[in-house]
Amino acid sequence: MPLVELVQTVTASSTAPGRKKGPIRQSDSAAVQRTINRRLADLERENYNEGVKIEVPKTEVARSSGKTPAVRRILASKKNLSNLFDEDETGAGEFYSAAVEPSRYPTRHLCSVCGYWGSITCIRCGARYCSLACEDTHRETRCLKVYA
């Protein structure tokens, strides 16, 4: 009987459905952070569909607007916030320096599937889940599929 048993270097259940042979591809922390940032940017959106353009209806009042060149310039301006921040670096600096600092208390983690405590981290994408059932749901739906 061999005393030294072959230790396999797989880091997850090799009976997981659909998994090819070899070690699991892991995301590095930069990729994980990019995913988090992209998701947070999505949460700041107004509409789900980015390309939605609602034309301002032309009314009686609108036709007589723009009494001075300054006002016409303001009304026609298509600048968005990033343009304005680029133009005014001091203002942008003041805006960003007023941001609340990170907490002194440790971060807690919640399961990305069901919302309970997420004690297990997905090796591939860094998301959290709480149990085998949630792991299966995560693998099938969101692992490396959204934003990857």
Binding site: E46, I54, V100, R108
Partner: protein, 416 residues
């Protein structure tokens, strides 16, 4: 140049990213008008209040807002909304700008260029008689805040927490002036909470990524702040839905024979209607507002609101002012209306405050209109307003920079 007549009326506009609270200073309460242009599924466009009064089917509505991340950047849409609010007889204000004094709010950390755009539109496009621009927190400060603490009168030092649509800002006001170096902004607002709820519901139950307005109603009607997050999380995990008091059924809106039935919380005493589409909510109900207290739950690298308040207070150099600020904390903004918010806030903040400081938190009856109420108070005190405002004559003589200087910002070189 004709002598400017004294303005006959004072109009107070609390111009928020979500709603405009508008009213003459003499009335009891403002009209609350959505600050957006909405387009329904039938491609019909609604401006401002038209959305609430005329739109029947809220499914699939998309919005265009003049505000972007808390800055008023798009005047093309804001002017369309202001034209309707100020001038349209349906809305009823029938403002004659050349005889009206205007009090308008802007966000705390507004870029000077954006502030100046508003100044120019107010005087050059509408032609108001006099004009005062300030932050909503300054108007909150104008209220008789002593009433919130069981007393009376006003203090010259208030810590205003404005938790609105774009973000939550903590604004220390010391000696009647906003102390800008200590203002702190937490990037969690009603918009983020709504989008997070939308994402969660779409993942766990039905795809509602397009249903912005409906999810907002679900958030308003079913979310609450828990005082015992860990315990409630266990309850939702362990108990079956039938035994779980925290779970709630929400009936989604649908078309019926007699028109549209709006979404509502299901009344459990009535038998269920088989035509209804029901959404069962569990821990989403309290983990969504929990983000205000623990933004790191979804990966935002900022502290929660109680800690943010302490960060803002610590940035005020004078120790006496710090004590006064913590003795006069006022919560404003729509997000403070979640059931359980007040208790949780008091509990967490009390734990962070030093022993020798008396913490007092004021909860106005209506956090959404409290800023406007302060504006109405100010509008009725003519002499106080007169010392702060800019008249049309001053603007014509000195240009837009006079507004920037008088209302506390650096002037813009290009406008000299």
């Amino acid at each position: 140049m004709p002598v400017a007549a004294q303005p006959r009326a004072t109009l107070v506009l609390d111009n928020g990213a979500y709603t405009i609270k508008a009213g003459y200073a003499t009335v009891e309460a403002p009209s609350i008008i959505p600050n957006c242009i909405a387009r329904g599924r039938d491609r019909r466009v609604y401006i401002g209040d038209e959305f609430l009064t005329q739109c029947k089917d809220f499914s699939g509505v998309v919005f265009r807002r003049p505000f972007e991340k808390g800055h008023l950047t798009n005047w093309e849409s804001e002017k369309a909304i202001w034209d309707r609010v100020l001038l349209n007889p349906e809305v009823g204000f029938n403002v004659s700008p050349d005889e009206t004094a205007l009090i308008v709010t802007e966000p705390v950390l507004h870029l000077p260029a954006c502030s100046s755009n508003m100044d120019q539109i107010v005087f050059e496009e509408y032609g108001f008689s006099t004009y005062y621009r300030c932050t909503t927190s300054a108007l909150v400060h104008e209220n008789e805040t002593g009433l919130l603490f069981g007393g009376s009168g006003r203090s010259d030092t208030t810590l205003v927490v404005d938790s609105g649509y774009s973000a939550t800002t903590v604004i220390p006001i010391v000696a009647d002036a906003v102390f800008y170096p200590a203002v702190r902004r937490l990037n969690v607002g009603g918009k983020l909470l709504r989008n997070f709820l939308k994402e969660t519901i779409s993942f766990r139950h039905y795809n509602m990524m397009d249903e912005i307005h409906i999810v907002n109603e679900i958030k308003d009607q079913s979310c609450f702040v828990t005082a015992q997050f860990a315990k409630d999380l266990e309850t939702c995990k362990r108990l079956l839905p039938a035994n779980n008091p925290l779970m709630l059924d929400y009936v989604l809106p649908r078309a019926t024979a007699s028109g549209f039935r709006q979404g509502h919380v299901r009344d459990v005493s009535l038998p269920p209607d088989p035509d209804d589409q029901v959404l069962t909510l569990g821990n989403e109900r309290f983990s969504v507002p929990e983000i205000l207290f623990s933004p790191s739950d979804i990966g935002i690298k900022q502290a929660g609101l109680p800690e943010a308040i302490m960060q803002a207070v610590s940035a005020v150099p004078d120790p006496d002012a710090r004590g006064l600020l913590l003795g006069n904390v006022v919560l404003a903004g729509g997000n403070t209306k979640f059931p359980g918010f007040r208790e949780r806030m008091s509990m967490e903040l009390q734990a962070l405050v030093p022993d020798d400081v008396t913490l007092r938190i004021g909860f106005p009856e209506d956090p959404i209109t409290y800023g406007w109420q302060g504006g109405a108070q100010l509008g009725q005190q003519k002499s106080r307003l007169r010392s702060r405002q800019v008249t049309r004559k001053e603007y014509m003589e000195h240009g837009p920079n006079v507004c920037l200087r008088k209302f506390g910002k650096k002037s813009i070189k290009a406008l000299e």
